[in-house]
């Protein structure tokens, strides 16, 4: 009888857990844990991929680092969780990761139905096609009837379907679960072309046996604003992630970088600079963070331009004059005022 009552108790517990779902905020959880859990791709050079020392680096990984620096004061207090395209939203909405920073495109359906919120953009991309130089193709219109390698379950797949349908072109999709497999498929001859975000194609080309054998077609067929994503229902956490990104962009605009941030903090006549480095204003406490949150981000991770230069430039994706340049220089990277 004792055993039975024990069992009953256990099952009753299961039954009631849903009524006591964690009410602690994400910020409190992260601070209590002392570590930020960040979902990344883990396999796209320049965005998030392990370096020679085994540390996850890239422009997406830098967002994780920046949020950890802002929240915990330590950019290294991050646990990276590599996620496939299909796993990512479930992992985020189920609470396995605190932030999803995995070259994720902002779309209405995702925003409205997946229980997630998109913060801001850390890279603005567009979908392109890469083909073998030897095939002598000059346009996507030449791809009628081709087999095209694509990562299954992405917006890329949808854009391609829309574009080909609109242009009345026929194609055969060859869908793989990882972007590495799409590259292997292209190199092995399973398809005539590969499609993905232009930045990813550049990263994949750098991983092929002979990068000079492949060429990008001129068309960019979609808008792919990529940025970090958070769970719905925690506005404070959303503000923190959004403004961490804004702080990095503002810092670049004001000429604050990781090398001069200490000097700027000690003495700067510009009140905008003083507000970012924390010597003036109340920006940190308003977000529930410490006074020097943005200073920690810039000191430990760098401003947006530094991060881009370090991780994305090596792929051969120039920033000057592209959409990813600052608005003051003709791009569309823009941040609201940090005040």
């Amino acid at each position: 009888m004792k055993k039975i009552s024990l069992l009953l108790g256990a099952f009753a517990l299961i039954g009631f857990t849903y009524s006591s779902v964690a009410t602690a905020s994400t910020l409190e959880e992260v601070q209590a844990r002392g570590e930020l859990v960040c979902g990344v791709s883990g396999g796209v050079a320049g965005f998030s991929a392990p370096n020679d020392a085994g540390r996850m680096v890239g422009i997406d990984a830098a967002v994780c680092d920046a949020v950890a620096a802002a929240v915990l004061g330590d950019a290294d207090a991050v646990k990276y969780v590599p996620l496939t395209a299909a796993e990512r939203f479930t992992a985020l909405s189920a609470g396995e990761v605190d932030v999803l920073s995995r070259n994720t495109t902002h779309t209405l359906t995702r925003d409205a139905t997946l229980g997630v919120n998109f913060t801001y953009y850390n890279f603005i991309d567009g979908q392109g096609f890469m083909v073998a130089k030897a095939d002598g193709l000059s346009s996507v219109m030449d791809l009628d009837g081709a087999s095209i390698c694509v990562q299954a379950g992405t917006t890329t797949e949808l854009n391609m379907a829309d574009y080909f349908r609109n242009k009345g072109l026929d194609y055969t999709p060859v869908g793989y679960s990882t972007s590495t497999a799409t590259r292997e498929g292209l190199e092995g001859g399973a398809c005539d072309a590969i499609t993905s975000d232009a930045s990813q194609l550049a990263a994949l080309r750098s991983e092929t046996a002979d990068p000079s054998a492949w060429t990008m077609l001129p068309e960019i067929i979609s808008k792919e604003p990529l940025g970090p994503v958070v769970r719905q229902g925690d506005d404070q956490w959303m503000d923190i992630v959004t403004w961490t990104l804004h702080a990095m962009i503002n810092a670049e605009e004001l000429g604050i970088d990781s090398s001069n941030v200490d000097a700027m903090r000690a003495d700067s006549p510009n009140p905008s600079v003083a507000r970012i480095v924390g010597s003036e204003g109340e920006t940190g406490p308003s977000l529930g963070l410490s006074q020097d949150w943005a200073y920690q981000v810039i000191k430990q991770v760098g401003n947006y331009g530094e991060v881009y230069e370090k991780h994305v430039e090596p792929l051969g994706i120039a920033r000057a004059g592209s959409v990813n340049d600052l608005w003051t220089r003709g791009g569309i990277i823009y941040s609201p005022p940090l005040r």
Binding site: I4, L7, L8, F11, I14, G15, T17, Y18, S19, V21, A85, A86, F89, T90, S93, A94, T109, R110, T113, L114, G115, L143, D144, G145, A146, S147, C149, A152, G153, T154, E157, L158, M160, A161, D162, F164, R165, Y171, T172, P173, V174, G175, Y176, S177, A181, E184, G185, G188, G189, A190, D192, R231, Q232, G233
Partner: protein, 409 residues
């Protein structure tokens, strides 16, 4: 549970008849076990109910709407391989994508089961043979393919062997009207042109097949009466083929053949057996056949030596002995574990995503799930499909198993 209820009922009936005092009811072991079982059943149902409640609550809490309304929406992506249902980009709905995925899973499972059974029997018989070379070859085969993770094998065959060695479409290997390249195997397919004559031809074919069964029964009766046997299978097959081909020409070729023609990138026309399907089928066949071979070896080893000696002493030839004495008895041991292998093969086909074959897990539980976010419904449907598939396979094979078991009189 059912027994418990019956016992419970019997107790009360008995109580009325015998007139025992109901205060003793707790001391009745049947009654007690009925109560305990009822509580357990309640707990199990309550647990599932709670899990369901928790999931729905948590999903709603996180702003995820669960509904089946997406079934009738147009799928915004393309499924490349759909041999049974026609896929039309912009018209095919999500639920049709599910059907396509299910059919593609069934296709690779059926092809895999047939091939793995044949190959498994062949390897298993080699493994039990007295020939040293054959036996060692089978041993190495089994040990290599049984001990490697299946996902690794699928990727190995696809990327390291087939894709690496098969040429691009323009340099396809030609086998008559068949073309083999890195995209797969292009085959000619028949097109029905004259409907009536085609039906006549089909009728002749079916009639000759029925006739061959009648012939088989007659041959069996003749053997029972006279002891003279005939090579039934050989005669039937050659007659069917001769009748089929000659009537095809007599009727003036009632259907034409659609030949694959090289286009700019791929072959157009004809039928296609895409490479992902081939790689997956090949890997599943090789992997599962290694297990089936071991089942076959166990089955053959289980036939007692006395049976073989008895077969020899009544003068059966070796093929007759294998066919009439060893196989029927070995099957009783082979079938039950082989059913599990069939189920495993079907479930293992879900690894197809690695090579880009569009079965149910790839197009439904992966792509459709990611595009709609309806995890609860999609995963539940996928689970139920595999459950039904497995239960149905076991059901069919259990009937067969019961038929071949020893019938005691």
């Amino acid at each position: 549970m059912v027994k418990g209820i019956i016992a419970f009922g019997q107790y009360f009936l008995l109580d009325k008849i015998v007139g025992r005092s109901p205060s003793n009811i707790y001391q009745n072991p049947k009654f007690r076990s009925a109560i305990i079982q009822a509580i357990l059943v309640f707990i199990v149902f309550y647990t599932f109910y709670s899990l369901y409640q928790t999931t729905v609550f948590n999903l709603e809490e996180r702003g995820i709407k669960t509904s089946t309304s997406f079934f009738d929406q147009v799928a915004p992506f393309k499924v490349g391989f759909s041999p049974f249902l026609n896929f039309e980009l912009g018209e095919t709905t999500y639920i049709e994508v599910f059907y396509i995925g299910v059919l593609n899973t069934l296709l690779v499972a059926v092809l895999g089961i047939i091939a793995a059974t044949l190959l498994g029997f062949f390897i298993g018989i080699l493994r039990s043979s007295n020939n040293w070379l054959a036996q060692k070859f089978a041993l190495i085969y089994v040990e290599i393919f049984r001990n490697m993770p299946l996902l690794l094998q699928i990727m190995f065959w696809n990327f390291a062997i087939f894709l690496a060695f098969l040429p691009p479409p323009k340099q396809s290997l030609e086998f008559g009207a068949f073309y083999l390249n890195g995209r797969g195997l292009q085959t000619p397919v028949p097109i029905v042109e004259n409907n009536f004559l085609f039906k006549v031809w089909l009728g002749i074919l079916i009639f000759s097949i029925i006739a061959s069964f009648i012939f088989r029964n007659w041959a069996k009766k003749r053997r029972d009466q006279t002891g003279k046997s005939l090579p039934v299978l050989g005669i039937s097959l050659s007659v069917i083929i001769i009748i089929g081909i000659s009537s095809f020409y007599i009727l003036g070729k009632p259907f034409a053949v659609d030949l694959p023609v090289l286009g700019k990138f791929n072959f157009k026309g004809g039928g296609q057996l895409p490479l992902p399907l081939f790689s997956l089928w090949f890997a599943l066949t090789v992997y599962t056949s290694a297990f089936i071979a071991e089942n076959v070896r166990a089955g053959i080893a289980s036939v007692s030596k006395g049976q073989i000696e008895a077969a020899r002493s009544i003068g059966l030839t070796r093929p007759q002995m294998v066919k009439l004495i060893i196989i029927p008895q070995a099957l009783r041991v082979i079938i039950p574990p082989t059913i599990s292998q069939y189920l495993n093969l079907t479930k293992n086909s879900s690894l197809a995503m690695a090579v880009g074959y569009e079965e149910v897990v790839a197009v439904w539980a992966n792509i459709s799930l990611n595009q709609t976010g309806q995890a609860l419904i999609i995963i539940a449907m996928t689970i139920i499909f595999f459950e039904i598939c497995s239960l149905f396979t076991s059901f069919i094979l259990n009937i067969y198993n019961r038929r071949i078991q020893i019938t005691e009189r």
